[in-house]
Symmetry: C2
Subunit: 255 residues, 2 copies
Amino acid sequence: RPRRIAIVNQKGGVGKTTTTFNLAGALARRGRKVLAIDLDPQANLTSSLGVEMKEGDPSVEELFVEEEFDARKAVRETRIPGLSCIPARPRLAGVEIKIFDAFLRETILDRKLEGIRDEYDFLLLDCPPNLSLVTVNALVACEEALVPIEAQTYSIKAISDLTNTVALIRSRLGRGVALRFLPTKIDGRLKVGQEILEAIKGGLKERVLPPIRTDANLVRAPMLRAPVGFAFPRSKGAKDYARLAEELLREPASA
Amino acid sequence: RPRRIAIVNQKGGVGKTTTTFNLAGALARRGRKVLAIDLDPQANLTSSLGVEMKEGDPSVEELFVEEEFDARKAVRETRIPGLSCIPARPRLAGVEIKIFDAFLRETILDRKLEGIRDEYDFLLLDCPPNLSLVTVNALVACEEALVPIEAQTYSIKAISDLTNTVALIRSRLGRGVALRFLPTKIDGRLKVGQEILEAIKGGLKERVLPPIRTDANLVRAPMLRAPVGFAFPRSKGAKDYARLAEELLREPASA
Ligand SMILES: Nc1ncnc2c1ncn2[C@@H]1O[C@H](COP(=O)(O)OP(=O)(O)OP(=O)(O)O)[C@@H](O)[C@H]1O
Ligand SMILES: Nc1ncnc2c1ncn2[C@@H]1O[C@H](COP(=O)(O)OP(=O)(O)OP(=O)(O)O)[C@@H](O)[C@H]1O
Ligand SMILES: [Mg+2]
Ligand SMILES: [Mg+2]
């Protein structure tokens, strides 16, 4: 029953964290129980959700490096009803080296989440800008992936590398995430963006979701520690992420 | 004599590659001999410069993993007079693990570049979106760093983490890069951007460079495999990067 969605794109700054943060908010506003998991050592999602980390507080790192660890111990509640978080912290940057030699190192996160995932309607995993072991763990732990893409030059190469990684996982594991593409920072005025977006859609067809338009409120909302649907409910950003939540609720997990 | 500049910011998508590509072009237009080094496994700079990699072609990876390697063997000429490139390739993603146990692993790049750097006026190093060993190698190999920053929510935390890393290097090595900040994607119309930019400037004072404005030509230029000063010489992007080159030529390396 729980939907497990990785928000992934190895290209930097395309809107992964903005999407995880505001989609989580939109689903919570629709009464769903959401667990947002921060997998980026830069911990932007963690700070956007207002989760403050003290010395000794467990984070997602413990899920990777502790042999026996109940993931529940790392879960933090946020001020938003129905929205919980497993936070990241800077030390997470060193986790790849620590798990490099571990047995079945690509499936650590999947196994650690087994125990808690049925308590939620949605698990959203915010990935870092790379295709490292941490990102692979996220892809293995999920059934779906949302890929925010900009109408920009380097997007096409990034998409191709990502689909190769997913295909590799599918060939090794017998299953792989259903990929869906989310155009972000879409500015109706920019013509070069339109051309690139059409080229991308041409290659991906039915798997492209309704776009998220540029909206300064999406920059402001994290400063207020509240998803845009709560902070600026009438804004373009709020409407677009509500529409995305609607689309995901309507469409089941399969591609 | 050669100026060695790392283009660095662990936040994704802030304009590191766009800055390396177009600053290299602007310096080449001013008759300088420039070596642009791609340190990102996603190799966006490499493809923007039109450098095609075949099986067996050496890349920056060889500088990290080969004991004795003449960096000259990895240098590729581009179509732009005075602009050369040491390319990256996807395999570079695995280099951190390979050098993790190496002796003086933070200084490998510096030592490998010693032999060739006097042949150039400028070395520009395009860093990946993280503070990994590769990025640390770039900071150790350079005397200056250009930090592209967006007028965005997560910039301030990113700047603080970066200055901590530089301070750590300075404490261990007795020297550290002179940091200069380059506001990018500045859109005069966006008010929230103005507020964040003022806050950032307030903290950084004289070390903030004249900004680079948003310009769709900066998205188009890599598609033409030509820096914006060559592809769209009258554009805002061309003017702003020419002004940046001017500022760097005027100001010597010390902070
Ligand atoms: N639709 C939008 N309109 C305006 N600004 C946006 C939009 N989406 C994202 N941004 C801004 O773009 C910047 C990058 O977004 P974000 O941090 O979500 O990307 P990311 O893919 O998570 O980056 P990273 O690769 O570093 O993790 C942020 O400052 C964010 O506020
Ligand atoms: N001044 C600008 N105006 C318009 N678009 C820009 C500008 N600067 C950069 N961009 C666009 O923003 C996107 C991200 O820029 P770029 O790839 O240079 O960032 P980066 O920091 O190198 O990213 P990464 O962290 O992934 O290496 C690119 O599509 C680029 O074309
Ligand atoms: Mg992010
Ligand atoms: Mg780049």
